[in-house]
């Protein structure tokens, strides 16, 4: 099996990041997918009963939404910055705006607000049916240096 560092290096060279996602166990546990549209990328969390928290609504567990957004931000940085290593999360501020309903897919989009030499500031928006009706919005800092 290929080492993760080699998978990362190869992804940087080819621009193909699916093998990176495939190699991250937690991304597979959640079922994270992504699609690139030129220089844009949208992350997708397909409906999955294993991600449910509140069984009554039902709703996706808030922690899953958070984890999905953190993972999306780290992958976004990997794709668009020249970082050969997995960025390390430093802090994360997450606002829940409405319940993420079970039975629906959830999407996320990231924006790098500022990239310094060692740290990056990223905002992440997550939605289900309409981008305007966000289920959660978050802000994170990542350390870029390995």
């Amino acid at each position: 099996m290929m080492k993760f560092t080699d998978i990362l290096k190869e992804a940087h060279e080819t621009g193909q990041f699916q093998p990176v996602v495939d190699a991250i166990p937690y991304a597979n546990l959640l079922g994270l997918e992504f699609q690139r549209f030129g220089s844009d990328v949208i992350f997708r969390l397909p409906d999955n009963k294993d991600n449910i928290g509140n069984p009554i609504l039902p709703a996706v567990h808030g922690g899953v939404i958070g984890g999905f957004m953190e993972m999306s931000a780290a992958l976004h940085l990997l794709m668009f910055l020249d970082t050969p290593a997995m960025p390390k999360i430093v802090d994360f501020s997450l606002d829940y705006l409405r319940a993420a309903r079970g039975g629906r897919d959830t999407f996320a989009e990231c924006q790098v607000i500022r990239q310094g030499s060692r740290v990056a500031n990223v905002i992440i928006n997550a939605w289900q049916t309409r981008r305007e009706d966000a289920v959660a919005t978050a802000r994170a800092h990542f350390l870029l240096a390995p």
């Binding site: 080492k3 166990p25 808030g62 922690g63």
Partner: protein
């Protein structure tokens, strides 16, 4: 801890209803009126960085959200299902692989509309945390909380699965 501790039983039943918590393997370790400790054993499925074997921050976020949310239930006089308003997490050091993580949560202020919580994730020594967070939860009122869920968490339903037994004496 004995089942007779109502805080422990309530916490255990609540977490038992949250499917994703079962998928991760989250367990209640200690619970009383003031604090709550959850435990999450290490699993290779939780890894976020295959090079180091360190679990992903999202796993810690889920553990903290669950710990704070469960603490809210134990901090309120009556059962209320309180949605999370926000979470603010600091990841102060990477969790050591192959060791369980623990989340110690408390509700430091219960107001009429909002419950304020904080939580520390550690690997045996709360003075040496892996992560810290504060989380706020919105109170929706006991009357708006789903009766099935309430009965299942309080353990007053005959069957402790929501939806199966809804004519309990809980309401």
């Amino acid at each position: 801890m004995p089942e007779s501790n109502p805080y422990f039983g309530r916490a255990e039943r609540f977490i038992g209803l949250l499917r994703h918590c079962q998928v991760l393997g989250i367990k209640v370790k200690e619970a009383d009126a003031e604090s709550l400790t959850l435990e999450l054993p290490y699993s290779s499925n939780h890894v976020g960085n295959p090079t180091s074997g360190v679990i992903h921050g999202g796993v810690i976020t889920t553990l903290m959200d669950t710990a704070c949310g469960t603490m809210v239930i134990n901090a309120l006089p009556e059962f209320e299902l309180c949605p999370t308003l926000d979470l603010r997490v600091d990841y102060v050091r990477a969790a050591e692989p192959k060791k369980p993580i623990y989340a110690l949560a408390e509700a430091y202020r219960v107001s009429r509309n909002v419950v304020f919580t904080r939580c520390t994730v550690h690997q045996g020594d709360p003075e040496s945390p892996v992560a810290n967070c504060v989380g706020t939860f919105m109170r929706i009122g006991s009357h708006l909380s789903p009766p099935d869920f309430k009965a299942a968490v309080l353990g007053t339903a005959e069957a402790q699965t929501p939806g199966r037994q809804d004519q309990s004496g809980a309401n």
